[in-house]
Symmetry: C2
DNA sequence: AGTATTGGCGATTATTCTTCGGCAGAAAGG
DNA sequence: CCTTTCTGCCGAAGAATAATCGCCAATACT
């Protein structure tokens, strides 16, 4: 039977140690989450149930936050991608500002350090729609200005990768 | 029998008309792609095979580009998120610059209109790793400078949404 | 009107997911 | 050094889901 002291320790979702197997699984799932456990197991060198168990743990610990379909913005009628920097007078995160997150055009919102307070990633149907979004932003009290960066071409857009570079090359690049 | 003129039209993967059912399915899949077709059908008002067929079409047409697991950057050892603006002297897209996409830290790269040429979204293990990345960028010929925006808090980060706002409110916000 | 095409449904089969018991290896304790 | 305990993997079985088929209704085209 467990001691009392052990009963007291909270079950917080901490870092449950991610080994090489987990890394491979995560990398594979980030690339394509629609493959079967059997295939995953074959790829990483484990049986299907073993992979299943690891994925279950990774899900529960929050390392895997969910699985989502990647949609084509242009096909959905939103061909215009833009990053909007917002300069707020006071402090960026106002209740008022958070309300613009309701628009499906908004994909990201971060508070940042730099010459801007808040950064948005938005995907709109047209320049007019972007203008309408900016009008929403400017209507927020405390916003002193915005600077928009419209994407001309997207060369890469992918989810969080499992890999980490631990040996950055001194010279430009290894290849 | 079809006319000759019809035989000539190419089978290009064009916009295959996205109706309200498709929108609902896409919205549901963007939110959570791990639910069964039966549940999806129940949500949108179709049978499971009907949903299956629609998803198959949406996949083939490229509207659904894939399904990916959303990973937690911090849990993977990459707690630092930054947006890096790059000013390039000549033209941004050089072969040399594309090579940094090999690093798993790089999640996005766009060429943008604005006072920067190229915009990166990178997630690194530490400020030192970000510095190493910037060193790689500065080593690219033609790069005259960078400006980095480090994310302090992320209030929203989600995939491309299926919805489109067609009636932007004149006044601040509806709610 | 008649005909062809499209898309949905119910039912069936194939595949995958999920769980279970047993076992081997490592870690903790005597 | 041996025993005990625990963790994690495997093969196999059962449950759930995916994927396919034929039929039918609604629409478009001749």
């Amino acid at each position: 039977m467990a001691k009392n002291t052990e009963d007291l320790r909270q079950r917080r979702p901490q870092q449950p140690v991610i080994d090489a197997f987990d890394r491979k699984i995560l990398a594979a799932l980030a690339a394509d989450s629609s493959q079967s456990y059997a295939r995953l197991g074959e790829a990483v060198g484990l049986s299907a149930p073993a992979v299943h168990e690891r994925v279950r743990r990774l899900r529960q610990s929050g390392t895997i936050k969910g699985v989502h379909a990647a949609l084509d913005g242009a096909a959905l009628g939103k061909p215009l991608l833009a990053f909007v920097h917002v300069e707020a007078a006071g402090w960026g995160k106002s209740e008022r500002l958070m309300q613009v997150l309701q628009f499906p055009e908004v994909e990201e919102m971060h508070s940042v350090a730099g010459d801007a307070s808040v950064l948005f990633k938005v995907r709109t149907a047209s320049p007019q729609a972007l203008e309408a979004f900016l009008a929403q932003i400017h209507a927020v009290p405390g916003v002193s200005g915005t600077r928009s960066y419209i994407a001309l071409s997207t060369y890469l857009e992918r989810p969080v990768q499992a890999g980490v570079t631990d040996n950055w090359p001194d010279m430009p690049l290894p290849e």
